[in-house]
């Protein structure tokens, strides 16, 4: 604990079961009341510099190395961007459906992993239960069937990715203007065999979340709840769409702020703020300004924003979800889990439909057209909206890159959830196990991905800054990206 002028600062480090290194600071006033809470995320802007000067056709493969957790999202978003560069944005039906299948496979495995592996222990055993038990091993022992399903659902999603992208590391399935392979009938039949089971287990997962909520709906709905705007892609008819569409923003009451914004126009609507205490930018809705324009992205935002979900089982669940908040957008952080499982079900239904679509066996793979020099693509990654912005010169070299990843979009929202939980659960001026647990649960609901590439967790740069009550830097300590030499 560190005293800085009139403000006392409590530092919690680390936040477990979240990728990489996270640090939380809670600022108290002289009376011990929470004035501010910050979730510090170390973001790597270096990758953008690394990619400059590369030929544009390398980008979809190269950019996925940014993140070992969600490489498919970066692969597909970059490919969408480069479609525009080569004038191939009107993909062949085979190419678009292959990419969608890849994306749905990624959505499915990511949501299954997050819920069953990272979050279900909290929800099944209670936030204050023994940390030693509150993990996937605990789930295996108490709920073996749930744990077994988690492994097989995750494996199924990975098989879909492998069949559509070619391989797990550095998949090359999507290329500028299309894809480089279709789905063979052998691959299709193998995936068809288990898809019915995946849908059934997804329905059970939605039910599991609803059963957990039903035990104490007041707590479930109010934990980490705060009003926010929501941003996501929607299809032209307002449907939920993970792969393509226009940007929609809604306020906490459900009023539309902007709608069907084309990716190329995103800078007219979204801006990024830099704050002295964080390397991570804070995006905001331009028309609302920095103070009021921050927003949520991800499953909760998507299910809040869409007018309907275009598969029947998931749409039924969306209606029930919406009814729980009286038809208004949900502002509960734990509802992320509920929305995530509805999306899991939707992804499974979408995969089933595509596996019965003969377009996936077509040999019409690539389209090209008018060459362009600037491009923006937006994709709904499992954790939320992902922006890729590139410029490419006449020599085919990338000259500008700006990425806004999902976790960056949720940056302020994660700060708010920490602040809300700190105000609700901080007792005195000590960090109890209970408070730590509640903060972890709150942040985990947003499924932040902080790894940004390497699995060598501690090798990521770490910068710790101590700020005084007047904003002055009291101390700064940095650890570089290289390995410590033994």
């Amino acid at each position: 604990m560190l005293a800085t002028g009139k403000t006392r600062k409590i530092t919690i480090n680390p936040v477990t079961r979240i990728e990489g290194h996270g640090k939380v600071t809670i600022h108290l006033d002289e009376n011990g009341h929470v004035t501010q809470a910050r979730f510090h995320i170390v973001e790597f802007r270096g990758f953008e510099r690394f990619a400059l000067g590369r030929p544009y056709w390398e980008v979809p493969v190269m950019i996925q190395r940014l993140c070992g957790i969600c490489p498919v999202s970066h692969h597909l978003c970059a490919a969408k961007a480069m479609d525009w560069i080569v004038g191939g944005e009107r993909l062949s039906p085979c190419a678009e459906k292959m990419r969608r299948l890849m994306h749905y496979g990624q959505m499915f495995q990511s949501h299954a992993l997050h819920f069953f592996h990272l979050s279900s222990p909290d929800l099944l055993f209670g936030f204050s239960s023994d940390v030693a038990r509150r993990n996937i091993i605990g789930v295996i022992q108490a709920h073996p069937e749930i744990a077994r399903r988690a492994v097989l659902m995750r494996k199924y999603g990975q098989e879909v990715i492998k069949a559509t992208s070619g391989k797990k590391i550095h998949g090359t399935g999507a290329i500028p203007g299309g894809i480089n392979k279709n789905l063979s009938t052998t691959e299709r039949d193998a995936l068809r065999r288990d898809i019915g089971q995946m849908i059934e287990w997804s329905q059970a997962a939605v039910k599991l979340v609803k059963d957990i909520r039903a035990k104490d709906p007041t707590f479930f709905d109010s934990f980490g709840a705060f009003e926010s705007n929501c941003v996501s892609l929607v299809r032209a008819d307002g449907a939920l769409d993970f792969y393509d569409g226009g940007l929609r923003a809604k306020d906490a009451e459900g009023n539309i702020i902007f709608d069907h914004v084309r990716p190329m126009d995103y800078l007219d609507y979204i801006r990024e703020e830099v704050r002295a205490w964080s390397y991570m930018k804070f995006p905001f809705i331009r028309s609302l300004g920095k103070e009021k324009g921050w927003y949520r992205v991800g499953p909760l935002a998507r299910v809040n924003n869409c007018d309907f979900i275009p598969t029947p089982l998931a749409e039924e669940e969306r209606k029930e979800f919406r009814a729980a908040t009286g038809g208004k957008p949900s502002n509960s952080s734990l509802h992320y889990h509920w929305a995530r499982m509805i999306e899991l079900l939707h992804a499974a239904e979408l995969m089933r439909d595509l596996l019965n679509d003969p377009d996936l066996q077509s040999s019409d793979l690539v389209r090209r057209g008018l060459r362009r020099e600037e491009t923006v693509a937006i994709l709904e990654a499992p954790r939320g909206t992902l922006f890729h912005h590139y410029c490419v010169n006449a020599n085919d070299e990338v000259t500008l890159i700006n990425l806004i990843v999902s976790t960056t979009n949720n940056n302020e929202a994660m700060n708010r959830v920490v602040q809300k939980i700190a105000r609700d659960y901080l007792e005195g001026q000590v960090i109890t196990e209970g408070l730590l647990n509640h903060i972890e649960v709150g942040i985990r609901a947003y499924d932040p991905c902080l790894s940004c590439a390497t699995h060598a967790v501690g090798q990521m740069p770490l910068v710790v800054t101590l700020m005084g009550s007047q904003g002055q830097t009291l101390d700064m300590k940095a650890r570089g990206a290289g390995c410590p030499q033994s």
Binding site: P14, T16, R17, I18, E19, G20, H21, G46, F47, F50, M62, Q64, R65, L66, G68, I69, P71, Q109, L113, H117, L118, V131, A132, N135, I136, I137, I140, Q141, P144, A147, R148, A150, V151, L152, R154, K155, Q158, K167, K168, I169, H170, C449, S451, A453, T454, H455, A456, V457, G458, Q459, L462, A481, G482, C483, P484, Q485, S486
Partner: protein, 175 residues
């Protein structure tokens, strides 16, 4: 008898790609009884793969140590905390044991790397270490697993601390 060689790491982070590079080389040997997988990291679905083989070799980058590589037997660690989206091999073995009531005999082949920034290529020293590790592994894959050593490396080596994910998270979070 089937052996699974599972190389993991990110080839876009220089020497962090040692695991996948080793897996790629082993795949080219095309042993009929050796199955090869690579990925950015280990995850829960790999438990299902482990349950189907008799022997498993986890190939990872090491970020500490004085030798080119370290080889050691692995045992499940059921009490280890899960801290990230990725799993340590010991945790994966524990998961496999609990889910499928069986585990393969498992080994870690941790190849020393030096540079972990953005970049596609292994450092020169890491390439040399990879060659040595492959030269060590090749004859083993031709022998019965009963003849494989439990450990090969410097006597001062700290068990399992060679793997980046393990050592770094421990020292990092312990500070």
């Amino acid at each position: 008898m089937t052996t699974l060689v599972l190389g993991y790491g990110n080839p876009g982070r220089q020497d962090d790609g040692l695991g996948p590079a080793l897996a790629e080389a082993v795949a080219q040997w095309a042993f009929p009884n050796v199955r090869v997988l690579d990925n950015y990291q280990l995850n829960i679905e790999d438990a299902a793969e482990l349950a189907q083989v008799e022997t498993a070799v986890f190939a990872d980058a090491a970020c500490t140590g004085e030798s080119a590589f370290v080889w050691q037997v692995l045992r499940p660690a059921p009490k280890i905390a899960f801290t990230t989206h990725a799993l340590a091999p010991q945790s994966l073995l524990a998961l496999c044991q609990d889910l499928y009531q069986r585990i393969p005999r498992a080994f870690l082949l941790a190849v020393r790397g030096y540079q972990f920034g953005f970049g596609d290529d292994l450092s020169r020293l890491a390439q040399q270490n990879l060659k040595r590790a492959l030269a060590f592994l090749l004859p083993l894959l031709r022998q019965p697993v009963q003849q494989w050593p439990d450990f090969f490396g410097p006597s001062t080596h700290q068990r399992t601390d060679a793997a980046c994910g393990q050592s770094s998270s421990r020292s990092h979070f312990g500070e």
